[in-house]
Amino acid sequence: MAYPKSYRYTKEHEWIEVKGDLATIGITDHAQHELGDVVFVELPKPGAKIEAGKSFGTVESVKAVSEIYAPASGEVIEINGELQNKPETINNDPHGAAWLIKVRLTNAKGISDLMDAPAYEAYIAEKGKETSA
């Protein structure tokens, strides 16, 4: 699956798309592959504050629990309620329909330090080599 050029990516495999002071956050195709069948998603409530680098929710597959880390700081303005009934959307469309939360950024600083798509692709390719070595 292609990694959208307009997104930025974290080492913990989240993506963020920024438009002005609004941002959409999700987990990457690589992350959903590693997790396997997603069966449960726990997200903060609208109004909650998230802080860059801190966990704001969890995604669970049959076999594992994975924390989701905020790529940036802000206030949650919307969550993807569809995921409660259809968590498998995360496996099917992680970069699109399975966005997790929308936030109003309190501080856009640091986002430009996140990886762009080619850098993230190189990062996961490198990680793949480590695990198969």
Binding site: H33, G36, D37, V39, F40, E60, S61, V62, K63, V65
Partner: protein, 357 residues
């Protein structure tokens, strides 16, 4: 064995294939120990009886039984399947993670008996073909008549042109199925694997990994070493009474089990079903309504068959009644669950053929 096979479509697809049709597991990591009598007959049986808790004297040639090896404290060295291969010839199939400990234990504790202990773990590749259509798949690959092989019995036959192959109607999924033991060299293993896949093609066979193996055995409440059974848990607590035959005579652990029975158990294994939206996982704490910690989850997972989140947990007997409300602590919050009947899943027995008047 990987956790799951991407080519299958993942853990849930693998799990459902086994419940609905057929799946194949490469369980070569399991260990195999053969015990034969020495110069005189009877030595092998006496040794097996001494180191295992079930009554191996009840086994006919061609029959197998679930059993366990115990420490003198009545806790578990490992669980295993004992097969009686011949008059004075037994095969113990043990877990992978406990293999070295087990073989040492068997050798140390059978020294006083007139028997020969041989480790065959590396000689065999073990494939488990499991599911309601497993018999049809395996039957395509062998000249042995499998219709006469009952659950927990085995036969020998030619499988994929390999003569004298052990074919056992055993498994770890709660479904009908077979485990076959073929020579472990790579070309042979690969050939058999490919032929199993080919024979199962029409049934939608998929290769299955450790993930599905765990969810399948959990739904069927089959114990996993290091989780439901361990060197800290005794037979009565684990609820494995019906595989433990005190009346057969002395065996390692018997004395302690008799004393433990008289004293009564302080904890017992129960099944939980989550009521609140949350998934209980291994080692999460379990609390009563007052918020006191009363137990620990030994295995917890979403159940692909039931579409519910299930768990096994040791609790004091006072909390074991069906319907008892308990709480599982998940990331600092308490989630409601209730004690339910186990196994969580039980396969439907085939309806008996209609009788002719």
């Amino acid at each position: 064995m990987p956790v799951e096979y991407p080519s299958s479509g993942g853990l849930i697809v693998e799990h459902k294939a086994v419940r609905g049709s057929v799946g194949v597991f490469d369980v070569s990591h399991m260990g195999d120990i053969r015990i034969r009598s020495g110069k005189k007959p009877g030595g092998a049986l006496a040794a097996v009886q001494h180191i295992t808790m079930n009554d191996a004297s009840k086994l006919a040639i061609g029959q197998a039984q679930y059993s366990a090896m115990l420490y003198p404290q009545g806790t578990f060295v490992d669980d295993l399947i004992v097969h009686r291969l011949g008059e004075d010839d037994y095969l113990l199939v043990i877990n992978a993670g406990t293999r070295e400990k087990d073989i040492y234990w068997v050798r140390e504790n059978t020294k006083a008996f007139d028997c020969v202990v041989e480790e065959l773990s590396d000689a065999y590749t073990q494939l488990a073909i499991q599911g309601p259509r497993a018999a049809e798949v395996v039957q395509k690959l062998t000249d042995a008549d499998l219709s006469g092989v009952k659950n927990y019995w085995f036969t020998h036959g030619t499988v994929c042109a390999l003569k004298n192959t052990l074919i056992a109607r055993t498994g770890y999924t709660g479904e009908d199925g077979f485990e076959i033991y073929v020579p472990s060299d790579e070309p042979t293993s690969e050939k058999v694997w490919n032929q199993v896949m080919e024979a199962g093609r029409g049934f939608g066979i998929v290769p299955c990994g450790l993930g599905a193996r765990n969810t399948l055995r959990l739904e069927s409440k089959m114990a996993l070493y290091g989780h439901e059974i361990s060197d800290k848990i005794n037979v009565w607590e684990a609820g494995l009474d019906r595989y433990c035959k005190l009346e057969k005579g002395n065996f390692i652990g018997r004395g302690a089990l008799e004393r433990a029975k008289a004293a009564g158990v302080t904890r017992t294994l129960v099944g939980l079903e989550m009521i609140d939206r949350g998934i209980a996982r291994d080692e999460y704490s379990c609390c009563n309504e007052a918020g006191e910690k009363i137990g620990v989850v030994t295995s917890g997972s979403p159940s692909p068959t039931l579409g519910k989140n299930i768990a096994l947990v040791y609790v004091p007997p006072a909390y074991s009644a069906l319907g008892t409300i308990l709480y599982v602590e998940i990331r600092g919050q308490k989630y409601k669950a209730q004690v339910v009947a186990t196994p969580f899943y039980k396969r439907q027995k085939k309806a008996a053929a209609p009788r002719l008047a």
